[in-house]
Subunit: 307 residues, 2 copies
């Protein structure tokens, strides 16, 4: 298998994670979280978004978050922007990379961003042009790659086409997201293979939610298919582990544990990452969803644990 | 990849799962659980053990459990036995298959079963002879295949040697167990390859705990290496999901979800299995550790769920 020897982790906890948590953290807490994650060796961190605060109160005060991220050393902080207005806010905040969020399902696109897939691509083309004019890189998300909560199945060709269109309009990277966490290995293999025919595999990332526990096995399948960039969220943020149907992101600690075992370099230090997972989980008043964070905390406290 | 088209799941929830839970279920509840699992299509179920009740109160009343499993249709129920006395109790209870539990680590063997590895093999040889004389099949466990809580690393050769010895004394199948859930894909590949040089791969099973979230990805690696039998526990029994360091078994629902997606036959129906996971979890007064059980419950209750 062609597992890459180095994998880039895009830490999405402060954005995709926290925006799906019930507890709202302050901009100061979110900036502090992003800086702690940078301190763990994470080099790409999606630190917030510039969306209507009424719609996503969890992400309010994005400007304040990014103002606190100056002098960030080696880490690159990015923000999700839904439109030109969001981009303008992001530019004012000095954001160096923005992400746009499209869907491979028409119904999801309409329900989530109030326009058709084609309209969203047009909108994002304008965002990308303006971002590039300001020296800001653009990342694209393709959501619903393995299924849509409204339509059910999603055509692989729709995922691949949208991926190509996002690259065409200037996205340097496209993250393929199993938004509802229904995909299994063969779906991941098929979707990645189809996308990699349209764009270079080095331009692809994968983004899994652990709804059915498949996040890690799907990540490994994506790496075998030539992907070298993986989205994940510290503490598996994005779904409360105590709630039925909790569907957090792939937990960065579990991803790093797997990759370290596979001798794949990530540049991330596991122990401070686990500490950070517990830190943010305490703010959210719960335990991390990540198995590794729980296991390593038990080891720290108990010396060792046999089961 | 040589993923088998059919995988045998050995459901260990009623034994390895429940023996590690704080809440003690009654023999009636445990027998009922085993029968529900059989009703889901599981064909091999480790339903209890015949060990000192003082040591493992969770497994007390094994005779009563097995008395209630008569007329079990297509399912085969097995019991763990530590020694001749346990076997005699199991034979009296009419158990059709017994399992013995050895360790690849000397210290773990001493601490867990109070004898050296060599002594345990001698003891189990006597058990196997007596079992066979009574027409009862014998399964062997090799624990600590990826690490020992006392010694740390465990030699792959020690795992392979013990596997061969267990087959030599009459174990028709040997289950390779990552008892403390520390292994990653390369360790699994190495250990399975070494064991498969000593015995036929069809005689091997794998048994993972999800301590670091690696259970599913490790199972897939084992299947790629030629293994076609997988141990798992309904609801991920064996570790409370609310406790730091919880280290339950691979959850049968998550395994079945993965294998179904890979078009690998298991004979197991997912929906009644999820119902059974919630049933036993309610008895234990908590939510299932399995992601699939939680996700499917949310879908059942909410119609559909977007994240």
């Amino acid at each position: 298998m062609n597992i890459p020897r180095r994998v880039n982790i895009v830490e999405v906890g402060p954005r995709d994670g926290l925006q799906n948590e019930k507890t709202v953290l302050t901009p100061v807490q979110r900036a502090d979280l992003a800086m702690r994650l940078a301190g763990c060796g994470l080099r790409r961190i999606e630190a917030g978004s510039f969306v209507a605060e009424k719609m996503v109160p969890q992400m309010a005060g994005g400007g304040e978050v990014f103002a606190r991220l100056k002098n960030n050393g080696a880490a690159r902080f990015s923000a999700l922007v839904p439109n030109m207005r969001g981009l303008e806010d992001a530019l004012r905040a000095g954001v160096g990379e923005v992400a746009v969020f499209a869907a491979a399902s028409e119904t999801f696109s309409q329900k989530n961003i109030n326009c058709s897939i084609a309209e969203s691509v047009q909108r994002f083309a304008q965002v990308a042009r303006a971002a590039h004019a300001n020296g800001v890189a653009v990342r694209g998300y393709v959501s619903c790659i393995a299924g849509c909560p409204y339509e059910g199945g999603v055509k692989t060709a729709a995922v691949a086409d949208l991926t190509a269109r996002l690259v065409d309009i200037g996205c340097g990277e496209v993250s393929l997201g199993d938004t509802i966490g229904v995909g299994t290995v063969p779906v991941v293999q098929k979707v990645v293979a189809a996308a990699a025919k349209m764009v270079d595999a080095s331009q692809l990332a994968v983004h899994f939610h652990d709804t059915h526990g498949q996040a890690l096995v799907n990540i490994r399948a994506a790496l075998e298919a030539g992907v070298a960039t993986v989205d994940s969220a510290v503490a598996g943020l994005g779904g409360c582990p105590f709630a039925p149907g909790a569907a957090g992101n792939a937990a960065t600690e579990d991803v790093v544990y797997m990759l370290r075992g596979m001798d794949v370099a990530t540049g991330v230090d596991l122990q401070p990452l686990v500490d950070t997972a517990w830190h943010v989980s305490r703010l959210l008043k719960r335990a991390p969803a990540s198995r590794t964070a729980r296991a390593m905390a038990a080891l720290t406290h108990a010396g060792t644990a046999a089961t």
